[in-house]
Amino acid sequence: MGSEFFNDFIVERFKALNTSELILNETFRKIVTCEIGEDDTIKILIEKLPAKKDEISLAYEILKGLQTPKVQNTAEKKKQLWNQLKTAEKSSQLFQHLAASLLILFIIVTVFYLSQTSTTIEDVTFSNEIDSNEITLILASGEQFILNKKPYKIKHHSDGSFFYAGNKSKFRSATVKNVFYQMIVPYGKRSDLLLSDGTKVWLNSGSRLIYPPAFEGKFREVFLEGEAFFEVAKDLEKPFYVKTDAFRLRVYGTRFDVRAYKKTNDFTTSLVEGKISLTPNQRLLAKEVFLLPNQKAISSTDHKTFKINEVHDLENMYSWVDGYLSFDNESISKVIQNISHYYNVPIGIKIRNNDLKITGKLELKDEVERVISGLMLLTKTKYLKDNNKFLIYQ
């Protein structure tokens, strides 16, 4: 391209142009950005058109000045990002296949662990996160019951069998010994069950209870992750224990609420009636801490001690048992926080007036959106939904 012919051609074209026209000229722009011509094309141009020297060099400087520095990512980084993209794509194609085989694997692992004769609660709790979308009862055999049709009743018997009564079907399971069952309740759902000793347990959203279908041995013991309300049947011979990741709770016949959410590091126990004691897991020789009715014990962040508080609105704390959240002159942000926690859904707030107080009961519907839209109607706010996130605004 760097021929005499080309040079003559551009000289002829540019000789009548002023600075602006040069800048706007496509050929001139390409010469400046080195898309056409040679490195010295501009120089030659100025030599051949000395009268236009100022205009050409100004046009050149302006076009140069309009170029901005570019960030260059390394080839390795780009290749890595591309590979990530490909892998993600492949895995999404394989996802269903994989999910099926993972489920089988999970069942095999569970069966393997549960079939060990010396199974303890600790052996069972190792297993995975709460990832089911439905309330699920997992038997020692690995068999899973999806409990998505309400209402239903689950009642355990002292021989290790349980009775299920749903809308359409009823059955009684086989008797088993020395095993553990798990009930898993995903976010936004609740469930309850009757243990073999007559103890009633209500499980709140995002919880897991591990328990033996029949209590054998010298004491009764269950493991809890999440929140549950207990009405423990009296049995002076066999003390009842609730274990969590932070503490062990001993029951002396009573009604109480336990919260053991790992995600938010919320380990709190509130006593409604009777007598219970708590012992932190962290310290081997720790003393029992006793709780009186209308008191709550909050586990310290390191789970070594407890802070005991009096509670005045105890009923509000476990109103979820009856299927609603109860608020007494609570700020809207606190209410939203509760809903967000219950359904495990991020909810943002952009509200100028945070003095908005709410008193009353909020029904816990299955769909978080129905709860939010109801609340919005009351408080005259609006909400946006995006990708399962919500934003509340005025």
């Binding site: 722009r29 520095p69 993209l85």
Partner: protein, 190 residues
């Protein structure tokens, strides 16, 4: 990027959409990544959004290959897709993060810090004068000028990418160049 080369990317694109050649798409990805990245930097400081948006459009291309059609100007097509995705991601951020950090989705021709440090270069008067003149323009006009002079897009391409008429491209660029030239001339005389 040279135009001659740009045309060959259109062929690579056809190789991908018609024959499913992932190799072809990977070349496009690797070669255009920096261009999209730099374009993103003009819109926001949030590099996470910039990178996620690139991943998302290519992930889309991988998913819906059979629904994709041939294009006249691949760079323009990529930029337009990327621009939409970027705005989508930024809107998501703005919705849920109330801090001001992400609210600057406006186009800025000379955004990053290093671009403002024009040290002892001899032509620094001209450069700083250009930057000043451009920064005073509305962000949409800055973007038009950027696509024309920094990326080298034609007027029809720009009108497609930004959904505006070819005439308004012409007008904007003509006026902007006149202003820049006048401002520079004043600066040089001083």
């Amino acid at each position: 990027m040279k135009l001659t080369k740009l045309a060959s990317y259109n062929i690579l694109w056809e190789d991908y959409i018609k024959k499913g050649s992932e190799k072809a798409l990977s070349i496009i990805y690797l070669d255009f990544y920096d261009h999209l990245f730099n374009y993103g930097l003009k819109h926001t400081k949030n590099r996470e959004v910039i990178e996620d948006s690139i991943q998302n459009i290519f992930s889309y291309f991988l998913k819906v290959r059979k629904n994709l059609g041939p294009v006249n100007n691949l760079f323009g097509y990529l930029l337009k897709s990327y621009r939409n995705q970027l705005f989508h991601e930024l809107a998501k951020h703005n919705k849920f993060i109330s801090t001001e950090e992400f609210s600057d989705s406006d186009f800025e021709y000379f955004r990053s810090q290093e671009q403002n440090i024009i040290d002892q270069e001899e032509n620094h008067i001209i450069k700083s004068s250009i930057q000043k003149s451009i920064s005073l323009l509305p962000s949409k006009q800055q973007e038009i000028i950027y696509l024309r002079f920094d990326c080298g897009f034609s007027y029809p391409d720009i009108s497609v990418i930004l959904n505006i008429s070819v005439e308004s491209c012409h007008k904007t660029i003509y006026r902007a160049i006149r202003t820049i030239r006048e401002d520079v001339k004043i600066k040089i005389r001083l």
